[in-house]
Amino acid sequence: MDHLQFKSNHTAAAYVADGLDTRTQEAFELHMMTCSECLGDVEIWRAMKRTLPREITGSGAPAVLPRYQQRMHRWKIAASIAVVGVIAAGGGWYGRSLEGPWADAEQIAFFSLPPLARGFSDCSPVTLESGTRLLALRVPGAMPDQQLVAIDANGRDLDPKIYSTRVQGDASWIVRLRSESLTDRTIRFEARSVDGTAEPLGCVIGAAHE
């Protein structure tokens, strides 16, 4: 593909939106190495993507709510995530949990990773109350032929004995993890494909028990 094709296809915009297939992305990146115009476009689109408001009102202006409404709004979002997480995790988890040593629901904490927090630098803190022995973590973004792997802060694969994963119908993984595995440490997740590529799917940091 040449420069005109990249321009007419708005490849820079699609590139930043992660909308290119592997081959086109590689061709475009090689082109970008020497094309200042496409590089400029990519920088503009990335700046726009990074600063786009997360929501808009009907009039087009970014939603600016009064502070108390913002708090309520955040609570609603948090509650929704928690409910979705619990339902999704519970569905895929129920049968196996009954077989496990900790069938007591009070000893299980459910947590759902946000769908857009995929970078390892974007770690979600998880506070486990004392008595929690098991963490059920929902990780969105499951793709066919991928395997979810947990790794530590140094990039080493965790011992598969301390966690297990399974894919759910809503294209997410449920990770079952012993709570002590997360105490004061970072656990990252990546989806590995059969072709050897790996995609980061976020991470969690264990906070001190309350």
Binding site: T34, D41, L52, P53, P62, T197
Partner: protein, 209 residues
């Protein structure tokens, strides 16, 4: 340098270069680096911005990307000085592959993290090597984007941008649900890009294109 200006090349050379000229420039740069001196500055000037985008595209945090950029250039300079490049005219391709390999190694946890150089190094960089986001204050950029969202003529355009960039929804799915043709979708992107350029220009960032 203003945004949208062509990638900096050796002083005095035309801004628009043909592929042959680019290859020739790469070959001379490789030769100059292999002979020592400070030619690596030119290497940095020419390739830092595109390589930074390669790292950011792989969801590597900005501070880590600075580290990986350093490693990419150091690795290239060492190789050029020790054994040379098989095809010096493909220096850009070599740097690109090196960056891709380092990004993969980073995600696999095969690289020890270095934090010592980031801030100071960034402060000492020449202006031309900085990306748009490194040069423009984040708050100002956010203000420009808010302005863009308010001035896009159709609610549909705003929805397209949010779904494409924030929700990372595939283009085909957006087109299907909003009953947009491929051309109409591209027009939305084009309008947004043009508007954003105008807004940045109003804030003093020239887009000489």
């Amino acid at each position: 340098m203003s945004y949208g200006d062509p990638l900096p090349t050796a002083p005095g050379t035309p801004m628009e270069k043909s592929l042959d000229q680019q290859a020739e420039g790469d070959s001379s740069l490789v030769m100059a680096i292999s002979q020592g001196g400070t030619s690596q500055d030119q290497l940095y000037l020419r390739y830092r911005r595109p390589l930074l985008q390669v790292f950011l595209q792989r969801r590597i945090a900005r501070d880590v990307a600075q580290d990986l950029l350093q490693r990419t250039f150091l690795q290239a300079i060492k190789k050029i000085r020790a054994e040379g490049l098989e095809d010096p005219s493909k220096l850009g391709g070599y740097l690109y592959r090196t960056a891709c390999n380092l990004a993969t190694a980073y995600w696999r946890g095969e690289l020890a993290r270095r934090r010592d150089m980031d801030t100071e190094l960034l402060a000492n960089l020449r202006d031309e090597t900085l990306s748009l986001e490194e040069r423009v204050d984040h708050e100002l950029l956010a203000k420009c984007v808010r302005s863009l969202m308010m001035h896009l003529p159709m609610a549909r355009d705003r929805e397209v941008l949010l779904r494409f960039y924030i929700n990372e929804e595939p283009k085909e799915s957006i087109c299907r649900s909003l009953d947009l043709s491929d051309l109409q979708f591209n027009q939305v992107l084009w309008r947004a890009r043009q508007r954003f350029g105008e807004i940045l220009r109003k804030h003093g960032f020239s887009l000489a294109r």
